[in-house]
C-alpha cells in the first residue's frame, strides 16, 4: 500500500447542518488528503484521526480505494466514499457509525459540467436533482464553476454551500441558504 497523506487546515467557515444528517456533526474545516490503494478501513481510521471523531466501522468486505481531497470538508469526502463503497452512516452518542449496507434509496449522481453560472441558478439545478427542497436568499452575484462526474448530488450541493461560504439551515426538510 502506498499512502501519501497531507492534512492541512485551511480556514474555518459557516457550514451547513441538519438534524437528520449524521455527517453534519463532523468538523467542517477543509482538509487536503491524498491516498492511493488503501483499505477502506484505513481511510475511515484516517478521517477519524483528522476530524478528532470516533468512528465505529462495521466489519465489511475488504475494499480498497484511492482518493484525493483538496480544500474540502470531511463530510463531502465521506458522502462520496459512502456512495462508492455502498456504505451508510448514522450518529450514535458521540460516535459516527459506518454501516456496510447502503441506504435503501440510492442518491442521484451527477455527471455535469457548469461554467461560470450564477450561483443561485446552479444551486437550484443541483438541488432539484438531489431532490432537496431549497430556499435561496442572495447568491445572485457569485458565479460557479462545477465539474462533477459520478458524484452524489447531495455531495455536490454541500460542496457548493461550502465554496460560497453560505449559511444553511434546515427547517422541516427545506434548506434555507443565505449567501
Amino acid at each position: 500500500m502506498k499512502t501519501i497523506l497531507t492534512a492541512v487546515a485551511l480556514f474555518a467557515f459557516a457550514a451547513p447542518g441538519t438534524s437528520d444528517d449524521p455527517l453534519a456533526a463532523l468538523p467542517t474545516t477543509p482538509i487536503d488528503i491524498e491516498v492511493r490503494d488503501a483499505p477502506a478501513d484505513d481511510i475511515y481510521a484516517l478521517m477519524a484521526e483528522v476530524t478528532g471523531t470516533t468512528f465505529d466501522v462495521e466489519p465489511c468486505r475488504p475494499q480498497t480505494l484511492s482518493l484525493k481531497l483538496e480544500a474540502a470538508p470531511p463530510a463531502v469526502l465521506l458522502r462520496v466514499m459512502g456512495s462508492r463503497l455502498g456504505r451508510s452512516y448514522s450518529w450514535t452518542a458521540d460516535h459516527l457509525v459506518v454501516h456496510c449496507e447502503p441506504e435503501t434509496e440510492p442518491e442521484p449522481e451527477l455527471d455535469i459540467s457548469i461554467d461560470d453560472a450564477p450561483a443561485d441558478r446552479a444551486l437550484q439545478l443541483i438541488a432539484d436533482i438531489a431532490e432537496q427542497p431549497l430556499q435561496i436568499e442572495g447568491c445572485t452575484d457569485e458565479r460557479v464553476d462545477l465539474t462533477a462526474t459520478h458524484v452524489p448530488a447531495g455531495a455536490a450541493l454541500e460542496a457548493m454551500f461550502v465554496q460560497l461560504g453560505a449559511t444553511v439551515q434546515y427547517i422541516d426538510g427545506v434548506a434555507h441558504v443565505r449567501c
Partner: protein, 106 residues
C-alpha cells in the same frame, strides 16, 4: 452531454430564456443518465469541455480573460476511485468583485 443539452443547460442556468418543457426534459435526461452512470461519461464530459474551450479560443482569436487568482476561491477537488469506478468533483466560486466575462458558450 451534447451541444444541445449543454446549450439548454447554460440558458436555463443564466435565465436567458424561461425553462421550457423541452429544457426541463433535457435536464431530466441529464439527471436520469447520471443515475445509471457509464464509464464513458467522464471521457465525454472532458472531451466536450475541451472542444468547447478550443472552439471558443479559436473563434475569439485570443484566450478568454482570466480573472486574478485572488478573485476565485481555490478549487475544491474530490476524487475517489473504487474498483475502477471514479468520482470527480471540482468546484470553485467567483465572488461579486470578480470579472464575469470568461463564460464558455457552446
Amino acid at each position: 452531454m451534447n451541444d444541445h443539452t449543454r446549450r439548454v443547460l447554460n440558458e436555463a442556468l443564466d435565465g436567458a430564456v424561461p425553462t421550457s418543457s423541452e429544457a426541463a426534459a433535457d435536464l431530466e435526461v441529464i439527471a436520469s443518465r447520471t443515475r445509471q452512470p457509464r464509464r464513458s461519461h467522464a471521457a465525454l464530459v472532458v472531451a466536450v469541455a475541451a472542444a468547447s474551450m478550443l472552439a471558443l479560443t479559436l473563434s475569439r482569436g485570443s484566450p478568454p480573460p482570466v480573472p486574478a487568482a485572488d478573485d476565485l476561491s481555490p478549487w475544491m477537488v474530490v476524487q475517489v476511485s473504487v474498483d475502477d469506478r471514479r468520482t470527480d468533483l471540482r468546484v470553485r466560486v467567483r465572488h461579486p468583485s470578480s470579472p464575469t466575462t470568461n463564460r464558455v458558450s457552446p
